[in-house]
């Protein structure tokens, strides 16, 4: 169909061709605004990085006197006023691993079902709504649920297991949501191509969908590691304790039904509940906590970059 093209405005009249590309008053003004805008954005970015750098430097300087491998591998001693952070360091590792062993498989499988099998119906709509809303529930609510369901009803007592399951409930909806997002990023055309060769849904998922979404799925899970490790509320009522000595340098020191110490809570108690704690001890604990979180996040990034470089389309 041919449409008439009428120029919306006629070109400005140019008297002298040699002046055609010379900046006018107006364009000079625009350029000035452009430069100012760029400078403001740049400064804001700097302002964002600055506190981070300051925090890290400050923490390290303050923590310097205690930082040593010894600090990591010994239990707190003398009513928390000396020693290291072995018990509080190992605790979160236990509960993070145990909780993800529960929530990752369930979350990923549920997401695959919701994204690849389920048809739009009132049932799946309700589930999707529930997932979205659960992901936004404050952690203290999960904590109370955990106390009721695991500590008392299931009679697990305050233990590694009860705390892990509480964290699993907390991370599950987020894992479902992030996995669904990763699955959704695989183009529909690949699925159609598979179906039209007669592949079953499972063959399609195994052969094409999962290999192409695994990096996103894993990243989503790993990001939950730092979230689970950093939360205080859900573990405070379900198993974390003020003090518990465990055998040092033994990675199997906790049992599933033991109470445990946790880094975030330990730090809170050192700095508010115990008088006379050497300052370096507090800062040392903070450095380890920060280091752990950054390590996990870095791991997530490295993994994502690695898997993406192998991505198959």
């Amino acid at each position: 169909m041919a449409t008439d093209i009428t120029p919306s405005s006629s070109p400005t009249e140019i008297t002298d061709p040699s002046l055609m590309f010379t900046a006018t008053e107006q364009s000079r003004k625009k350029q000035l605004m452009e430069n100012i805008a760029r400078a403001i954005f740049f400064v804001m970015t700097l302002l964002m990085i600055l506190p981070l750098v300051l925090i890290v430097v400050y923490l390290f300087v303050k923590a310097a006197p205690v930082l040593s491998p010894e600090f990591l591998f010994t239990n707190p001693a003398k009513g928390m006023r000396a020693g290291g952070i072995w018990a509080p360091l190992l605790g979160p590792i236990y509960i993070v691993i145990t909780s993800l062993l529960v929530s990752a498989p369930i979350g990923v499988l549920a997401a695959v079902y919701l994204n690849e099998y389920a048809r739009a119906s009132w049932f799946t709509r309700i589930i999707n709504l529930a997932v979205v809303n659960l992901a936004g529930v404050p952690s203290i609510v999960h904590a109370l649920f955990g106390v009721g369901a695991f500590v008392y009803f299931a009679k697990m007592g305050r233990s590694v297991l009860a705390a892990s399951l509480t964290l699993a409930i907390m991370t599950l909806p987020v894992i479902i949501a992030s996995t669904k997002e990763a699955l959704n990023a695989v183009p529909m055309a690949f699925r159609e191509a598979c179906w039209n060769t007669g592949a079953t849904r499972w063959q399609t998922i195994r052969g094409i969908v999962l290999p192409n979404s695994i990096s996103g799925i894993l990243t989503g899970i790993i990001l939950q590691v730092s979230r689970a490790a950093g939360e205080t509320a859900p573990i405070m009522f379900t198993g974390a304790v003020f003090f518990k000595a465990i055998s040092e340098r033994d990675v199997f020191a906790y049992g599933l039904f033991d109470r445990f110490m946790a880094l975030s809570m330990h730090l809170y108690q050192l700095s508010t509940q115990v008088p006379g704690v050497p300052e370096a001890l507090e800062y040392g604990t903070a450095v380890v906590l920060l280091g752990a979180v950054l390590t996990v996040n870095a791991l997530a990034i490295v993994l994502r970059v690695y898997l993406r470089s192998r991505k198959r389309w």
Binding site: P187, A189, E192, N196, T197, G198, A199, G207, K311, W313
Partner: protein, 258 residues
């Protein structure tokens, strides 16, 4: 139309609803065996939907209800004893946007076989031969014989589309459905894909949806014109274009529907 022809697809009073929207209305059509049949009609008239009925892949797209009969090679594919995987093996589909899988050229061609065969490992010599035969059949062998390990999604569009056709061949389909196979290609690509289709007639029944009237005239033996879910006219291509029986057909082929 002569009456002693063989038909590879016959539908009888086929109706299809997406939810409560009726996309196909009383479609009764016979597609001759071994020929190319064109399917034309304005956007949204149900061409893709009709095509997807023939390998029942519509059912993967949510809330679909179908009534009526679709017989392929004499068998009603909505019978209870029909296996969808076997059906789709025999009725292949080529899409508007080439959709090679994000794996190597070699594996793309074997994908269908691997989906269907129980024994996982075939001999390398055997698979090599399958890949070569399929690629030769679509005139890609010379271009791609040194790039078999290349990821198929990095090929040129035209090569991708031919690869998508080649991918169907190892399964020895009887019917190939093509949904606007050339609309993502330039005129040279279109030309070679059309050539390929003409080459494949006889061995395969081809049903091609196209928005390109010239293409329908060039490649198809028979042509079907659809409008809002109904078949308006079905005739030998020449007759349909030169002496359309229905004024709506005439309007459409003269470009009055846009």
């Amino acid at each position: 139309m002569s009456t002693d022809k063989n038909y590879s697809i016959e539908t009888n009073q086929l109706n299809l609803w997406y939810g409560d929207f009726q996309a196909l209305i009383n479609v009764s059509v016979k597609i001759p065996d071994g020929l190319i049949t064109g399917l034309i009609g304005p956007s949204g008239c149900g061409k893709t939907t009709l095509l997807r009925c023939f390998n029942r892949v519509n059912e993967r797209y949510g809330n679909v209800t179908t009534t009526g009969e679709v017989e392929i090679l004499g068998k009603n594919i909505y019978d209870a004893d029909v296996s969808l995987t076997e059906l789709r093996k025999n009725v292949g589909m080529v899409f508007q946007r080439p959709n090679p899988l994000p794996i190597s050229v070699y594996e793309n061609i074997l994908f269908g076989l691997r989906v269907h065969s129980e024994q996982r490992i075939r001999k390398k010599s055997e698979t090599d031969e399958i890949v070569e035969t399929a690629l030769r059949e679509v005139f890609l062998w010379d271009d791609l014989k040194d790039q078999l390990k290349v990821k198929a999604t990095t090929l040129q569009l035209e090569q991708q589309q031919k690869l998508c056709i080649a991918r169907l061949l190892p399964l020895k389909p009887r019917v190939i459905l093509m949904d606007e196979p050339c609309s993502a290609l330039d005129s040279k690509g279109t030309g070679t894909v059309e050539e390929l289709m003409l080459e494949l007639t006889g061995q395969y029944t081809i049903l091609i949806v196209t928005h390109n009237m010239a293409q329908a005239r060039r490649v198809s033996d028979e042509c079907i014109f659809m409008l809002i879910g109904e078949i308006i006219e079905h005739n030998r291509t020449e007759d349909l274009f030169l002496t359309p029986q229905n004024t709506k057909t005439a309007d459409y082929i003269e470009g009055r529907y846009g």
